[in-house]
């Protein structure tokens, strides 16, 4: 096995084997880093979409301006001007 392995190495052009292996290793690292970056960016985009479409946060309003049950299934916030 060792000979066979040795033969294969010798059969390759001088210096190419280790460089090729190093290049492949570098490519793998780049692929992994790229994949992580893509996942992170996609995650950020999804979070942004979710936050922009999320319902407005509940607000503190004096009870006098509320009409109806606090547990009502439908809550209407009316923004208005009296004029």
């Amino acid at each position: 096995m060792a000979k066979s392995s040795e033969r294969r190495r010798r059969g390759q052009p001088p210096g190419k084997s280790s460089a090729a292996r190093g290049g492949a290793g570098n490519n793998t690292v780049l692929y992994v880093v790229g994949a992580i970056a893509i996942v992170l960016v996609a995650g950020l985009v999804i979070l942004q979409i979710i936050s922009s479409s999320a319902p407005a946060a509940a607000v503190a309003v004096a009870d006098g301006r509320k009409w109806g049950s606090e547990s009502a299934p439908v809550k209407v916030e009316l923004w208005s001007d009296f004029q």
Binding site: A56, W67, Q83
Partner: protein
Amino acid sequence: MAADYQDKGKVQVIYRHFAFIGGESFVAANAAECAADQNKFWPYADLIFKRQSGENKGQFSTANLKKWAGEIAGLDMAAFNSCVDSNAKDTIVRKDIAEGQSRGINVTPTFYVNGKKYDIASTQLPTLVNSLMPK
């Protein structure tokens, strides 16, 4: 809608001030907040909505707003007038307006239903509420 839903606990309405038309908008909003102090916001708001007449033409003068308040049963007029005269609720009104601006509101009325903004006319609200009512 009030009879069908609010009184049966199915809908809650929250009024938010977006007084942006002019000076009288602020005076009226302040007066309504003064009525809210005495748990009379809604009857007073209904009343002044019915008295709308032009914009910034003197209809919502302090004198008129005080006079109309006299029509609300059970309102402590001395406390109400003092509140209106001191513009005591200005901060509350402006805080609402600032929040409205931060949400991008630029027209009234604007409705948020269950936290989601709907660009609809008042007449379309009952249909929307119906559609969101649990079956």
